[in-house]
């Protein structure tokens, strides 16, 4: 990586931005990323969600990944953990489903029944 200079420029640019962040996340989206998820297109799902978060300017939403949840036929699966609410699991979440779930569930707090896999623990 010869672009150390460029990296330093980025650092100066984003530093302010980073300080402004509270570091507290209200919503955590977990994308299952084992072989089963990846084969079903989970990387695309994750990237779609990341773009949507970026576009919505919500810095209290974060994405992480996990291993196989044991329901490989339902992949790509995502789990949504919202502060003070029961976790919700969605199955067969392709990019289109991810957009709908982001719009309805994450931004407006409505559960999207047609992709719903389970609610609660």
């Amino acid at each position: 990586m010869k672009n150390l200079e460029e990296l330093k420029r980025i650092r100066d640019r984003v530093k302010k931005n980073l300080q402004m962040r509270s570091g507290k996340h209200k919503v955590r989206i977990v994308v299952c990323m084992a072989t089963c998820g990846i084969a079903a297109g989970a990387r695309q799902t994750m990237n779609t969600l990341a773009d949507l978060i970026e576009k919505s300017n919500r810095d209290d939403v974060v994405i992480t990944t996990s291993g196989c949840a044991g329901f490989c036929e339902q992949e790509p699966m995502i789990q949504i953990y919202t502060e003070d609410k029961e976790p919700v699991v969605y199955g067969k979440v392709d990019s289109k489903a991810a957009e709908e779930i982001f719009e309805k569930h994450i931004l407006n707090g409505q559960i999207v029944e047609r992709y719903l896999f389970s609610k609660g623990k």
């Binding site: 990586m1 640019r13 990387r43 990944t65 044991g70």
Partner: protein, 184 residues
């Protein structure tokens, strides 16, 4: 798996699942043969032939398909998959495929594999090298260096992700990985 990028991401996940904190990936393309070597410092393979679908460390079910699928992808195209235990600690995986073979899979977005990796496992250190025939191997990603320069752990910031993507993508293009099936 749709493309070689999916496979690569899946195999990196094995390293992380084995507790690796450092993963070194070397990518190369020469004579229409695309290859990568992945070296990690994870706990290593415990026992059995890991390319057998019925040998797995996962607990949810008794099959593991990541390595068997990769092996199939290699062997379908006159390539190979070799996995060896490193002395001390860790695993070395070597994969090669003939991209001019009729059954070759497209590359997919290989640079994106690594930004996905940083997003998925922000605490793991990755080093990515591009194998060059006539000159020194080119380092296109070194997360340790990024962490030191940035002075903060926010490796998932959009601007850093873009920077990493560009760096790797440029390196891949220099060795001819600029179309889905390479240039002949």
């Amino acid at each position: 798996m749709r493309d070689l990028a999916d496979h690569l991401f899946d195999i990196l996940e094995n390293s992380v699942a084995a507790g690796a904190t450092e993963v070194i990936v070397m990518l190369g393309l020469s004579n229409k043969r695309f290859s990568y070597k992945i070296k990690d410092n994870g706990r290593g393979i415990e026992s059995g032939d890991v390319t057998d679908p019925f040998v797995t460390s996962r607990k949810e079910r008794k099959v593991g398909l990541g390595l068997p699928l990769l092996k199939k992808t290699a062997e379908n195209t006159n390539g190979f998959l070799r996995i060896s235990r490193l002395e001390g600690k860790g695993t070395l995986l070597e994969f090669e495929t003939d991209i001019s073979h009729i059954d070759a899979k497209p590359f997919g977005d290989l640079a994106k594999v690594f930004t996905d990796a940083l997003r998925s496992w922000p605490d793991v250190d990755f080093e990515v090298l591009i194998e060059r025939e006539k000159s020194k191997n080119e380092q296109v990603l070194n997360t340790k260096e990024i962490r030191e320069t940035m002075g903060c752990s926010d490796i998932q910031h959009k601007e850093i992700q873009d920077f990493v993507y560009q760096s790797i993508d440029k390196g891949l293009k220099r060795i001819g990985i600029n179309t889905q099936f390479g240039n002949f």
